[in-house]
Symmetry: C2
């Protein structure tokens, strides 16, 4: 299969791991020295992996808009911008309305920072959402040309793709917090947590052994403070509570447990 011409905006962990899948990808990331947006002009699919921080529980799309205002004058109408940055359900649809000359897709990343290249090469699944016919398939074809044939694709609309990403990360945050509560109980009882972990991970409904770093608790580094989970948990919780009017009881409780664990980390020095 002939590879499509691929562009990548944002050459951080996600952008670099995505770019690494393809031959000669065009890169645009001014702060990192890739300053020429015209390299994107002949790309079929452009993956957007710029930072979208969470501020007061909302996605801060400042960089997304800056980039789009720079590049939209250059783009052809048949090019696709596939959003890899994590954004709340409805965001890509709103971008589509604001930039009607651009074709958007949602293509959330599920990369672990410390093994992003390997995760990009061997994904558990590829999720692609689009709201017009044919677009999701075109993005999928770009991946199919470079991934193992047994990788499963979930092709859907943009909001569903965005929902899958937040639900997945919130679930992982929940799972980590849950295991911390079990670990805490084991500490008090003098029970070997490693054996409990083994007993749980053998149940595929809790997680298989290979993939289950979430079941590991690091007593000298309680809770999670990586770049994704606290941010995504906060944004998704705020979205459910403030946009949808739902209590988000479990998500709130997850943040409570994590805050407690992080403060114990501080006390422990």
């Amino acid at each position: 299969m002939v590879q499509a011409r691929v562009g990548v905006i944002g050459y951080g962990v996600v952008g670099a791991a995505t770019a690494g899948l393809f031959d000669n990808p065009a890169i645009y990331d001014p702060p990192k020295g890739y300053e020429d947006p015209t390299v994107l002009a002949d790309c079929d699919v452009i993956f957007m992996a710029v930072p979208v921080p969470t501020v007061l529980g909302k996605n801060d799309l400042t960089i997304v808009h800056e980039v789009l205002e720079t590049i939209t004058p250059i783009l052809r109408p048949d090019q696709i911008i596939a959003m890899r940055s994590t954004v709340l359900p409805g965001t890509v649809r709103a971008l589509q309305e604001q930039y009607p000359g651009v074709r958007f897709a949602s293509n959330p990343e599920f990369l672990r920072a410390h093994r992003a290249f390997d995760d990009a090469r061997h994904p558990y699944r590829v999720v692609i959402g689009a709201d017009e016919p044919g677009i999701a398939e075109r993005v999928a074809d770009v991946y199919r040309a470079v991934l193992d044939p047994d990788v499963e694709f979930v092709l859907t609309d943009t909001r569903t793709a965005e929902m899958i990403k937040y639900a997945a990360n919130t679930f992982l945050a929940l799972k980590i917090s849950f295991m911390h509560e079990v670990w805490d109980a084991c500490q008090i009882l003098g029970i070997d947590y490693a054996v409990v972990k083994r007993g749980l991970e053998l149940d595929p409904r809790i997680g298989d052994g290979e993939a289950n770093e979430e079941l590991t608790v690091q007593p000298d580094r309680l809770g999670f403070d990586d770049e994704c989970l606290p941010k995504d948990l906060a944004a998704f919780t705020s979205f459910l509570q403030n946009e949808l009017g739902l209590p988000a009881t479990l998500f709130d409780a997850t943040a409570t447990v994590n805050a407690g664990m992080l403060s114990r980390r501080l006390v422990a020095g």
Copy 2:
């Protein structure tokens, strides 16, 4: 391998599924017509699968004690009673102290009620806890004679085995509640939950497709009200809060979400 002589006390779902693994097991369950305790006299391992309800957050061991008082005069000292009923960490150790003439093991069941025989035949893992040397191995040998050779065994002490059981069931309750919160958000947004479910279950950290009935939400039957999950969640939450002095934040939140879902079921009629 010569099969050990096996006895089963309590011929409900768990007892019957356990008994079904073995040739000619001895059964003792007076309410079901198996009224002769002396059939247990020549058994090497006796699986105890009697009801242990949760009352005010504690295990009600009334039936366990009734049975033990009936059968201990009959038992030989080298016989093992393997507790399949779900009991809180420390329970089997306390029984051991109360009935010093009996050898106890903890052997929690992980059977789904609607497929208990199949789960017993093809377990995700077999967990056996004992506090004296050799006992867990003897129970394991009884299973090894009848199960596939690739089944993994977790041999540990009684409290760890009991902890694995409660942690597993509480995790499943949490997962069901989490998926209900995601489902709720999907309903408001008009997102197809089945696609979200597929996107999540393809991640083995959330669960593989084959085993993951927990990701299914039945809109006409919200929440969980089966025999195990509400009972085990309540007992484990109470144990953490009242025995260990832990907040059990996530477990409490799980019960809150489930109570809300069950009340919506009532409103829906």
